[in-house]
Amino acid sequence: MATRPIHEGLFTKPDDPRGAALLAGRCGACGRHHFPAAETCPYCSAETGSVEAVGATGRIFLHTVVQTAPPGYTGPVPYGFGLVDLPEGLRVVTRLAAADLDALESGLRVRLEIAPLCTDEEGNEILSWAYRPDDGAA
Protein backbone atom coordinates (compact mmCIF):
# COMPACT_ATOMS: atom_id res chain seq x y z
CA MET A 1 0.00 0.00 0.00
CA ALA A 2 1.79 3.08 -1.24
CA THR A 3 0.67 6.66 -1.64
CA ARG A 4 0.93 8.37 -4.99
CA PRO A 5 -0.17 11.70 -6.47
CA ILE A 6 -3.20 11.66 -8.80
CA HIS A 7 -0.93 13.00 -11.55
CA GLU A 8 2.72 14.01 -11.63
CA GLY A 9 3.70 17.65 -11.45
CA LEU A 10 0.48 19.12 -10.09
CA PHE A 11 1.50 19.88 -6.51
CA THR A 12 4.41 19.64 -4.07
CA LYS A 13 5.31 16.40 -2.36
CA PRO A 14 4.70 16.01 1.40
CA ASP A 15 8.36 16.64 2.29
CA ASP A 16 8.78 19.71 0.07
CA PRO A 17 10.32 22.60 2.05
CA ARG A 18 7.99 25.01 0.24
CA GLY A 19 5.04 23.35 1.97
CA ALA A 20 1.75 22.48 0.29
CA ALA A 21 1.58 24.33 -3.02
CA LEU A 22 0.36 23.96 -6.57
CA LEU A 23 3.03 23.76 -9.25
CA ALA A 24 2.19 26.42 -11.81
CA GLY A 25 4.06 27.25 -14.97
CA ARG A 26 5.38 30.76 -15.28
CA CYS A 27 6.19 32.08 -18.73
CA GLY A 28 9.67 33.46 -19.25
CA ALA A 29 8.37 35.78 -21.94
CA CYS A 30 5.05 37.25 -20.77
CA GLY A 31 5.39 36.38 -17.09
CA ARG A 32 1.90 34.93 -16.77
CA HIS A 33 1.09 31.85 -14.74
CA HIS A 34 -0.77 28.77 -15.92
CA PHE A 35 -1.79 25.55 -14.20
CA PRO A 36 -0.94 22.73 -14.65
CA ALA A 37 2.53 23.72 -15.77
CA ALA A 38 3.16 23.14 -19.49
CA GLU A 39 6.19 23.57 -21.67
CA THR A 40 4.43 26.04 -23.93
CA CYS A 41 2.83 29.19 -22.52
CA PRO A 42 -0.89 29.04 -23.35
CA TYR A 43 -1.01 32.83 -23.55
CA CYS A 44 1.91 33.77 -25.76
CA SER A 45 3.25 30.43 -27.09
CA ALA A 46 6.71 31.00 -25.60
CA GLU A 47 8.64 27.92 -24.55
CA THR A 48 10.93 29.47 -21.97
CA GLY A 49 9.14 28.92 -18.70
CA SER A 50 9.78 27.80 -15.17
CA VAL A 51 7.73 26.04 -12.53
CA GLU A 52 6.71 27.93 -9.39
CA ALA A 53 5.03 26.85 -6.18
CA VAL A 54 1.85 28.91 -5.80
CA GLY A 55 -1.47 29.00 -4.05
CA ALA A 56 -0.83 28.01 -0.45
CA THR A 57 -3.89 30.17 0.18
CA GLY A 58 -6.51 31.85 -1.96
CA ARG A 59 -10.03 33.21 -2.07
CA ILE A 60 -13.11 31.58 -3.54
CA PHE A 61 -14.25 33.33 -6.72
CA LEU A 62 -17.15 30.99 -7.59
CA HIS A 63 -18.37 27.72 -6.16
CA THR A 64 -20.97 25.00 -6.43
CA VAL A 65 -21.57 21.57 -4.95
CA VAL A 66 -21.41 18.38 -7.02
CA GLN A 67 -24.07 15.95 -5.72
CA THR A 68 -23.36 12.86 -7.82
CA ALA A 69 -19.99 11.30 -8.61
CA PRO A 70 -19.05 12.06 -12.23
CA PRO A 71 -17.58 9.22 -14.36
CA GLY A 72 -14.10 8.26 -13.18
CA TYR A 73 -14.40 9.93 -9.76
CA THR A 74 -14.48 7.68 -6.70
CA GLY A 75 -13.94 10.23 -3.93
CA PRO A 76 -16.63 11.34 -1.49
CA VAL A 77 -19.86 13.03 -2.62
CA PRO A 78 -21.22 15.60 -2.34
CA TYR A 79 -18.11 17.70 -2.84
CA GLY A 80 -17.37 21.35 -3.38
CA PHE A 81 -16.15 22.61 -6.74
CA GLY A 82 -15.14 26.03 -7.85
CA LEU A 83 -12.67 28.66 -8.91
CA VAL A 84 -10.14 30.01 -6.45
CA ASP A 85 -8.17 33.20 -6.93
CA LEU A 86 -4.54 32.80 -5.91
CA PRO A 87 -2.40 35.70 -4.67
CA GLU A 88 0.04 35.08 -7.53
CA GLY A 89 -2.57 36.42 -10.01
CA LEU A 90 -3.91 33.07 -11.11
CA ARG A 91 -7.41 31.59 -10.95
CA VAL A 92 -7.68 27.80 -10.75
CA VAL A 93 -10.40 25.19 -11.15
CA THR A 94 -10.40 23.12 -7.99
CA ARG A 95 -12.23 20.83 -5.67
CA LEU A 96 -13.40 22.60 -2.48
CA ALA A 97 -13.37 20.71 0.80
CA ALA A 98 -15.39 21.83 3.81
CA ALA A 99 -16.97 20.36 6.90
CA ASP A 100 -20.09 22.32 5.90
CA LEU A 101 -20.39 22.73 2.13
CA ASP A 102 -23.22 25.22 2.65
CA ALA A 103 -20.70 27.57 4.26
CA LEU A 104 -18.77 28.04 1.01
CA GLU A 105 -19.13 31.53 -0.40
CA SER A 106 -17.44 33.93 -2.78
CA GLY A 107 -14.58 35.82 -1.20
CA LEU A 108 -13.99 33.21 1.47
CA ARG A 109 -10.33 32.72 2.35
CA VAL A 110 -9.18 29.15 1.68
CA ARG A 111 -6.01 27.14 2.22
CA LEU A 112 -4.51 24.42 0.02
CA GLU A 113 -4.74 20.89 1.32
CA ILE A 114 -3.04 17.86 -0.23
CA ALA A 115 -4.68 14.71 1.04
CA PRO A 116 -5.83 11.23 0.01
CA LEU A 117 -8.91 11.38 -2.22
CA CYS A 118 -9.47 7.73 -3.11
CA THR A 119 -7.66 4.45 -3.63
CA ASP A 120 -6.74 2.74 -6.88
CA GLU A 121 -7.31 -0.92 -7.87
CA GLU A 122 -4.13 -2.02 -6.09
CA GLY A 123 -5.18 -0.28 -2.89
CA ASN A 124 -2.76 2.61 -3.21
CA GLU A 125 -3.87 5.90 -1.70
CA ILE A 126 -4.25 8.59 -4.34
CA LEU A 127 -3.29 12.10 -3.24
CA SER A 128 -5.13 15.05 -4.71
CA TRP A 129 -5.53 18.69 -3.81
CA ALA A 130 -8.42 20.78 -2.61
CA TYR A 131 -8.96 24.17 -1.06
CA ARG A 132 -10.59 24.31 2.38
CA PRO A 133 -11.92 27.29 4.35
CA ASP A 134 -8.94 28.74 6.25
CA ASP A 135 -9.45 28.55 9.99
CA GLY A 136 -6.61 30.97 10.58
CA ALA A 137 -4.27 28.36 12.01
CA ALA A 138 -1.14 27.75 9.95
Binding site: I6, H7, A24, R32, H33, H34, F35, P36, P42, Y43, F61, L62, H63, T64, V65, V66, Q67, T68, A69, P70, P71, G72, Y73, T74, G75, Y79, F81, G82, L83, D85, G89, L90, R91, V92, V93, T94, R95, S106, L117, C118, I126, S128
Partner: protein
Protein backbone atom coordinates in the same frame (compact mmCIF):
# COMPACT_ATOMS: atom_id res chain seq x y z
CA UNK B 1 -14.78 38.42 -52.20
CA UNK B 2 -18.04 39.02 -54.04
CA UNK B 3 -20.01 36.22 -52.45
CA UNK B 4 -23.07 34.69 -54.04
CA UNK B 5 -26.29 34.45 -52.04
CA UNK B 6 -26.75 31.18 -50.17
CA UNK B 7 -30.30 29.88 -49.93
CA UNK B 8 -31.78 27.28 -47.63
CA UNK B 9 -33.38 25.16 -50.35
CA UNK B 10 -34.79 22.53 -48.02
CA UNK B 11 -34.69 21.33 -44.43
CA UNK B 12 -35.50 18.13 -42.61
CA UNK B 13 -35.42 16.85 -39.07
CA UNK B 14 -35.73 13.59 -37.20
CA UNK B 15 -37.40 14.24 -33.84
CA UNK B 16 -35.01 14.66 -30.90
CA UNK B 17 -35.60 12.07 -28.18
CA UNK B 18 -34.86 8.43 -27.42
CA UNK B 19 -35.16 5.82 -30.15
CA UNK B 20 -33.80 2.50 -28.92
CA UNK B 21 -34.88 0.71 -32.11
CA UNK B 22 -33.15 3.08 -34.53
CA UNK B 23 -29.42 3.26 -35.05
CA UNK B 24 -27.76 6.59 -35.68
CA UNK B 25 -27.51 5.94 -39.42
CA UNK B 26 -31.30 5.61 -39.58
CA UNK B 27 -31.75 8.89 -37.76
CA UNK B 28 -29.47 10.61 -40.25
CA UNK B 29 -31.20 8.98 -43.24
CA UNK B 30 -34.55 10.24 -42.06
CA UNK B 31 -33.46 13.87 -41.78
CA UNK B 32 -31.51 13.83 -45.05
CA UNK B 33 -34.41 12.28 -46.94
CA UNK B 34 -36.76 14.95 -45.63
CA UNK B 35 -34.44 17.83 -46.51
CA UNK B 36 -33.77 16.53 -50.02
CA UNK B 37 -37.49 16.04 -50.54
CA UNK B 38 -38.23 19.63 -49.53
CA UNK B 39 -35.46 20.86 -51.84
CA UNK B 40 -36.51 18.43 -54.59
CA UNK B 41 -32.88 17.38 -54.90
CA UNK B 42 -31.76 13.85 -55.79
CA UNK B 43 -28.45 12.15 -56.51
CA UNK B 44 -26.46 14.42 -58.75
CA UNK B 45 -28.25 17.44 -57.37
CA UNK B 46 -25.66 18.25 -54.71
CA UNK B 47 -21.88 18.39 -55.11
CA UNK B 48 -20.65 17.96 -51.54
CA UNK B 49 -21.90 16.84 -48.16
CA UNK B 50 -20.86 17.78 -44.62
CA UNK B 51 -21.93 15.73 -41.64
CA UNK B 52 -21.70 17.13 -38.11
CA UNK B 53 -21.28 14.51 -35.41
CA UNK B 54 -19.21 14.02 -32.27
CA UNK B 55 -19.45 10.46 -31.00
CA UNK B 56 -20.75 8.43 -33.96
CA UNK B 57 -17.44 6.90 -35.07
CA UNK B 58 -15.65 6.55 -38.38
CA UNK B 59 -17.37 7.37 -41.68
CA UNK B 60 -20.62 8.41 -40.00
CA UNK B 61 -21.96 10.59 -42.78
CA UNK B 62 -20.77 8.16 -45.42
CA UNK B 63 -22.88 5.40 -43.97
CA UNK B 64 -25.98 7.59 -44.22
CA UNK B 65 -25.42 8.56 -47.84
CA UNK B 66 -24.31 5.04 -48.78
CA UNK B 67 -27.52 3.62 -47.38
CA UNK B 68 -29.51 6.20 -49.33
CA UNK B 69 -27.65 5.50 -52.57
CA UNK B 70 -26.41 9.09 -52.60
CA UNK B 71 -22.65 8.75 -52.21
CA UNK B 72 -20.02 9.69 -54.78
CA UNK B 73 -19.61 13.35 -53.88
CA UNK B 74 -17.04 14.57 -51.34
CA UNK B 75 -18.38 13.64 -47.89
CA UNK B 76 -16.64 15.07 -44.85
CA UNK B 77 -17.49 14.49 -41.21
CA UNK B 78 -17.06 17.58 -39.10
CA UNK B 79 -16.48 17.82 -35.36
CA UNK B 80 -16.41 20.94 -33.22
CA UNK B 81 -18.11 19.72 -30.04
CA UNK B 82 -21.70 20.85 -29.63
CA UNK B 83 -21.04 23.37 -32.40
CA UNK B 84 -20.33 20.59 -34.93
CA UNK B 85 -23.50 21.25 -36.90
CA UNK B 86 -22.72 24.95 -36.94
CA UNK B 87 -19.22 24.24 -38.21
CA UNK B 88 -20.64 22.02 -40.95
CA UNK B 89 -23.04 24.78 -41.91
CA UNK B 90 -20.26 27.36 -42.08
CA UNK B 91 -18.18 25.14 -44.38
CA UNK B 92 -21.09 24.33 -46.65
CA UNK B 93 -22.28 27.92 -46.87
CA UNK B 94 -18.77 29.13 -47.71
CA UNK B 95 -18.51 26.64 -50.57
CA UNK B 96 -21.78 27.86 -52.08
CA UNK B 97 -20.97 31.53 -51.49
CA UNK B 98 -17.57 31.21 -53.13
CA UNK B 99 -18.97 29.46 -56.18
CA UNK B 100 -17.06 26.25 -55.51
CA UNK B 101 -20.34 24.31 -55.31
CA UNK B 102 -23.86 25.16 -56.39
CA UNK B 103 -25.64 22.91 -53.91
CA UNK B 104 -24.35 21.36 -50.68
CA UNK B 105 -26.00 18.96 -48.26
CA UNK B 106 -25.31 19.67 -44.58
CA UNK B 107 -26.57 17.28 -41.94
CA UNK B 108 -25.86 16.23 -38.39
CA UNK B 109 -26.83 13.43 -36.06
CA UNK B 110 -26.06 11.89 -32.73
CA UNK B 111 -27.12 9.08 -30.45
CA UNK B 112 -26.01 9.92 -26.92
CA UNK B 113 -26.19 7.57 -23.97
CA UNK B 114 -28.33 8.62 -21.01
CA UNK B 115 -26.97 10.68 -18.14
CA UNK B 116 -23.89 12.87 -17.86
CA UNK B 117 -21.94 12.88 -21.12
CA UNK B 118 -18.66 11.05 -20.61
CA UNK B 119 -16.66 13.40 -22.71
CA UNK B 120 -13.44 12.17 -24.29
CA UNK B 121 -12.22 15.72 -23.64
CA UNK B 122 -10.64 15.30 -20.22
CA UNK B 123 -7.51 13.32 -19.39
CA UNK B 124 -8.31 10.49 -16.95
CA UNK B 125 -6.67 12.22 -13.99
CA UNK B 126 -9.06 15.17 -14.35
CA UNK B 127 -12.00 12.80 -14.14
CA UNK B 128 -10.49 11.02 -11.17
CA UNK B 129 -9.88 14.34 -9.43
CA UNK B 130 -13.55 15.30 -9.79
CA UNK B 131 -12.84 18.17 -12.16
CA UNK B 132 -14.79 16.94 -15.20
CA UNK B 133 -18.54 17.31 -14.50
CA UNK B 134 -20.01 19.68 -17.08
CA UNK B 135 -22.98 20.74 -14.90
CA UNK B 136 -20.52 22.04 -12.29
CA UNK B 137 -18.95 24.39 -14.81
CA UNK B 138 -22.42 25.45 -15.94
CA UNK B 139 -23.30 26.14 -12.30
CA UNK B 140 -20.26 28.38 -11.83
CA UNK B 141 -21.26 30.43 -14.84
CA UNK B 142 -24.82 30.69 -13.57
CA UNK B 143 -23.54 31.83 -10.21
CA UNK B 144 -21.41 34.46 -11.85
CA UNK B 145 -24.51 35.77 -13.61
CA UNK B 146 -26.18 35.93 -10.21
CA UNK B 147 -23.29 38.03 -8.91
CA UNK B 148 -22.77 40.28 -11.90
CA UNK B 149 -25.98 40.38 -13.95
CA UNK B 150 -28.74 40.56 -11.37
CA UNK B 151 -29.87 37.07 -12.22
CA UNK B 152 -31.93 35.34 -9.53
CA UNK B 153 -32.88 31.72 -8.99
CA UNK B 154 -36.33 32.74 -10.10
CA UNK B 155 -34.92 34.04 -13.39
CA UNK B 156 -33.10 30.78 -13.98
CA UNK B 157 -36.34 28.92 -13.35
CA UNK B 158 -38.33 31.21 -15.62
CA UNK B 159 -36.04 30.45 -18.57
CA UNK B 160 -36.77 26.79 -18.06
CA UNK B 161 -40.51 27.41 -17.72
CA UNK B 162 -40.51 29.46 -20.93
CA UNK B 163 -38.63 26.86 -22.95
CA UNK B 164 -40.71 23.98 -21.71
CA UNK B 165 -43.88 25.92 -22.50
CA UNK B 166 -42.58 26.62 -26.01
CA UNK B 167 -41.66 22.97 -26.45
CA UNK B 168 -45.25 21.89 -25.90
CA UNK B 169 -45.98 23.10 -29.42
CA UNK B 170 -42.93 21.48 -31.00
CA UNK B 171 -43.62 17.98 -32.34
CA UNK B 172 -39.87 17.41 -32.72
CA UNK B 173 -39.05 18.10 -29.06
CA UNK B 174 -38.36 15.42 -26.46
CA UNK B 175 -40.17 17.04 -23.51
CA UNK B 176 -43.55 18.49 -24.34
CA UNK B 177 -44.98 19.10 -20.90
CA UNK B 178 -45.21 22.55 -19.36
CA UNK B 179 -43.82 23.10 -15.87
CA UNK B 180 -44.12 25.80 -13.23
CA UNK B 181 -41.46 27.92 -11.62
CA UNK B 182 -42.10 26.07 -8.36
CA UNK B 183 -41.57 22.70 -10.07
CA UNK B 184 -38.30 23.85 -11.61
CA UNK B 185 -36.98 25.24 -8.33
CA UNK B 186 -38.19 22.19 -6.43
CA UNK B 187 -36.61 19.64 -8.76
CA UNK B 188 -33.54 17.71 -7.68
CA UNK B 189 -30.53 20.00 -7.17
CA UNK B 190 -27.76 18.91 -9.55
CA UNK B 191 -25.16 21.62 -8.99
CA UNK B 192 -26.36 24.62 -7.05
CA UNK B 193 -28.01 26.83 -8.39
CA UNK B 194 -28.97 24.47 -11.24
CA UNK B 195 -31.75 21.96 -10.68
CA UNK B 196 -32.50 19.00 -12.93
CA UNK B 197 -35.16 21.00 -14.80
CA UNK B 198 -32.64 23.71 -15.63
CA UNK B 199 -30.33 21.32 -17.50
CA UNK B 200 -30.84 19.85 -20.96
CA UNK B 201 -30.54 16.13 -21.68
CA UNK B 202 -28.08 14.77 -24.20
CA UNK B 203 -30.24 12.60 -26.47
CA UNK B 204 -30.71 11.37 -30.05
CA UNK B 205 -31.76 13.01 -33.27
CA UNK B 206 -30.77 14.34 -36.66
CA UNK B 207 -31.28 17.40 -38.83
CA UNK B 208 -30.40 18.30 -42.40
CA UNK B 209 -30.22 21.41 -44.55
CA UNK B 210 -29.78 21.77 -48.31
CA UNK B 211 -27.86 24.93 -49.19
CA UNK B 212 -27.99 26.24 -52.71
CA UNK B 213 -27.09 29.22 -54.85
CA UNK B 214 -30.74 29.30 -55.97
CA UNK B 215 -33.91 29.43 -53.85
CA UNK B 216 -35.63 26.13 -53.16
CA UNK B 217 -39.06 25.15 -54.48
CA UNK B 218 -40.86 26.00 -51.23
CA UNK B 219 -41.29 29.71 -50.71
CA UNK B 220 -40.72 32.28 -49.56
CA UNK B 221 -36.96 31.98 -50.06
CA UNK B 222 -34.70 32.00 -46.99
CA UNK B 223 -31.06 33.09 -47.18
CA UNK B 224 -28.07 32.35 -44.99
CA UNK B 225 -26.56 35.79 -44.49
CA UNK B 226 -23.74 34.53 -42.29
CA UNK B 227 -22.55 31.28 -40.72
CA UNK B 228 -19.49 31.56 -38.50
CA UNK B 229 -17.62 29.36 -36.07
CA UNK B 230 -14.88 30.51 -33.70
CA UNK B 231 -12.76 28.97 -30.99
CA UNK B 232 -11.77 30.40 -27.60
CA UNK B 233 -8.94 32.76 -26.86
CA UNK B 234 -6.63 31.95 -23.96
CA UNK B 235 -7.22 33.60 -20.64
CA UNK B 236 -10.45 32.55 -18.98
CA UNK B 237 -10.81 29.59 -16.64
CA UNK B 238 -14.56 29.60 -17.16
CA UNK B 239 -14.80 29.14 -20.91
CA UNK B 240 -16.43 26.07 -22.38
CA UNK B 241 -12.97 24.68 -23.01
CA UNK B 242 -12.47 24.36 -19.24
CA UNK B 243 -8.77 24.91 -18.92
CA UNK B 244 -7.63 24.33 -15.37
CA UNK B 245 -6.55 27.94 -14.90
CA UNK B 246 -7.00 31.49 -16.09
CA UNK B 247 -5.87 34.95 -15.13
CA UNK B 248 -7.71 37.00 -12.53
CA UNK B 249 -9.43 39.96 -14.09
CA UNK B 250 -8.71 38.99 -17.68
CA UNK B 251 -11.86 38.07 -19.56
CA UNK B 252 -11.02 37.84 -23.24
CA UNK B 253 -13.91 37.88 -25.72
CA UNK B 254 -15.67 34.53 -25.61
CA UNK B 255 -16.08 32.29 -28.67
CA UNK B 256 -19.70 33.45 -28.84
CA UNK B 257 -18.67 37.10 -28.88
CA UNK B 258 -16.09 36.40 -31.60
CA UNK B 259 -18.51 34.39 -33.73
CA UNK B 260 -21.33 36.91 -33.27
CA UNK B 261 -19.18 39.89 -34.18
CA UNK B 262 -18.04 38.20 -37.35
CA UNK B 263 -21.57 37.11 -38.24
CA UNK B 264 -23.13 40.53 -37.71
CA UNK B 265 -20.38 42.15 -39.78
CA UNK B 266 -20.77 39.63 -42.60
CA UNK B 267 -24.54 40.09 -42.60
CA UNK B 268 -24.27 43.88 -42.23
CA UNK B 269 -26.82 43.62 -39.44
CA UNK B 270 -26.97 44.15 -35.72
CA UNK B 271 -28.86 42.59 -32.82
CA UNK B 272 -31.73 45.06 -33.29
CA UNK B 273 -32.49 43.64 -36.71
CA UNK B 274 -33.39 40.24 -35.27
CA UNK B 275 -36.98 39.08 -34.92
CA UNK B 276 -36.17 36.02 -32.82
CA UNK B 277 -33.23 33.86 -31.83
CA UNK B 278 -32.43 30.22 -31.07
CA UNK B 279 -29.52 30.14 -28.62
CA UNK B 280 -27.55 27.56 -26.70
CA UNK B 281 -29.46 26.70 -23.54
CA UNK B 282 -27.55 23.67 -22.29
CA UNK B 283 -28.74 25.09 -18.99
CA UNK B 284 -30.92 28.04 -18.01
CA UNK B 285 -27.92 30.14 -17.10
CA UNK B 286 -26.30 29.45 -20.46
CA UNK B 287 -29.33 30.94 -22.24
CA UNK B 288 -28.98 34.17 -20.27
CA UNK B 289 -25.22 34.25 -20.85
CA UNK B 290 -25.81 33.63 -24.56
CA UNK B 291 -28.16 36.60 -24.68
CA UNK B 292 -25.54 38.82 -23.11
CA UNK B 293 -22.65 37.54 -25.23
CA UNK B 294 -24.65 37.89 -28.44
CA UNK B 295 -25.31 41.52 -27.58
CA UNK B 296 -29.08 41.04 -27.34
CA UNK B 297 -28.92 43.01 -24.11
CA UNK B 298 -26.17 44.94 -22.33
CA UNK B 299 -23.49 43.03 -20.41
CA UNK B 300 -24.91 42.63 -16.95
CA UNK B 301 -28.44 43.05 -18.27
CA UNK B 302 -29.36 39.38 -18.31
CA UNK B 303 -31.48 39.49 -15.19
CA UNK B 304 -33.49 42.46 -16.42
CA UNK B 305 -33.95 40.79 -19.82
CA UNK B 306 -35.65 37.84 -18.16
CA UNK B 307 -37.52 40.00 -15.64
CA UNK B 308 -39.04 42.08 -18.44
CA UNK B 309 -40.08 38.99 -20.41
CA UNK B 310 -38.24 40.16 -23.52
CA UNK B 311 -37.54 36.57 -24.61
CA UNK B 312 -41.04 35.22 -24.07
CA UNK B 313 -43.12 34.16 -27.03
CA UNK B 314 -44.86 37.42 -27.88
CA UNK B 315 -42.04 39.37 -26.20
CA UNK B 316 -39.87 41.90 -28.00
CA UNK B 317 -37.28 39.30 -28.97
CA UNK B 318 -38.49 35.72 -28.55
CA UNK B 319 -35.67 33.42 -27.42
CA UNK B 320 -35.88 29.72 -28.27
CA UNK B 321 -39.47 29.66 -29.53
CA UNK B 322 -38.73 26.03 -30.50
CA UNK B 323 -38.37 25.16 -26.83
CA UNK B 324 -34.59 25.18 -27.03
CA UNK B 325 -32.38 22.36 -25.92
CA UNK B 326 -34.17 22.34 -22.57
CA UNK B 327 -37.25 20.87 -24.21
CA UNK B 328 -35.73 19.34 -27.33
CA UNK B 329 -32.73 17.70 -25.66
CA UNK B 330 -29.29 17.86 -27.26
CA UNK B 331 -28.10 15.41 -29.91
CA UNK B 332 -24.67 17.04 -30.19
CA UNK B 333 -23.98 16.89 -33.90
CA UNK B 334 -27.59 17.67 -34.82
CA UNK B 335 -28.51 20.45 -32.42
CA UNK B 336 -27.13 23.40 -34.38
CA UNK B 337 -28.82 22.20 -37.56
CA UNK B 338 -32.05 21.59 -35.68
CA UNK B 339 -31.96 25.32 -34.99
CA UNK B 340 -31.53 26.05 -38.70
CA UNK B 341 -34.52 23.86 -39.51
CA UNK B 342 -36.58 25.85 -37.00
CA UNK B 343 -35.33 29.17 -38.38
CA UNK B 344 -36.18 28.16 -41.94
CA UNK B 345 -39.70 27.13 -41.03
CA UNK B 346 -40.27 30.25 -38.92
CA UNK B 347 -38.97 32.55 -41.65
CA UNK B 348 -41.21 30.86 -44.21
CA UNK B 349 -44.14 31.36 -41.84
CA UNK B 350 -44.55 27.61 -41.54
CA UNK B 351 -43.84 27.07 -37.84
CA UNK B 352 -47.48 26.39 -37.03
CA UNK B 353 -48.29 26.93 -33.35
CA UNK B 354 -44.75 28.11 -32.64
CA UNK B 355 -44.85 30.81 -35.31
CA UNK B 356 -43.24 34.13 -34.39
CA UNK B 357 -45.47 36.62 -36.16
CA UNK B 358 -43.84 38.32 -39.10
CA UNK B 359 -40.41 36.89 -38.43
CA UNK B 360 -38.06 37.99 -41.18
CA UNK B 361 -34.56 37.83 -39.68
CA UNK B 362 -33.29 35.39 -37.05
CA UNK B 363 -30.11 34.12 -35.43
CA UNK B 364 -29.02 30.66 -34.30
CA UNK B 365 -26.22 30.04 -31.82
CA UNK B 366 -24.43 27.08 -30.28
CA UNK B 367 -21.50 26.63 -27.93
CA UNK B 368 -19.45 23.49 -27.55
CA UNK B 369 -16.30 21.84 -26.35
CA UNK B 370 -13.13 23.11 -27.82
CA UNK B 371 -14.31 25.71 -26.93
CA UNK B 372 -16.31 26.62 -30.00
CA UNK B 373 -19.25 28.82 -30.75
CA UNK B 374 -21.25 28.99 -33.96
CA UNK B 375 -23.57 31.76 -35.08
CA UNK B 376 -25.80 31.79 -38.13
CA UNK B 377 -28.03 34.59 -39.34
CA UNK B 378 -30.88 33.78 -41.72
CA UNK B 379 -33.29 36.09 -43.50
CA UNK B 380 -36.44 35.70 -45.54
CA UNK B 381 -36.44 37.19 -49.02
Amino acid sequence: MSARPVYVAGVGIHPFGRFPDLDVTRLGMSAVRAALAEAQVERGGFQAAFCGTVYTGVAAGHKVLTALGLSGVPIVNVEAGCASGGAALSLGAAQVASGQRDTVLVFGMEKMPRGIIRSSFFPPWCEQAGLSPAPAYFALRARRLMQESGVTRSHLARVSVKNHRNGVDNPFAMYRKPCTEEEVLGAKMVCDPLTLFMLCSPNEGAAAVVLSAAPGPIGPPVRVLAATVRSHLPGSALGEHTPMSGLIGEDPPSPTELAAKEAFETASLGPRDLDFVEVQDTDSGREILSIEELGLCARGGGGAFVEEGVGERGGKLPVNPSGGLLSKGEPLGASALGQIVELAWQLRGAAEKRQVDGARTALAHTVGRGANASVAILQRG
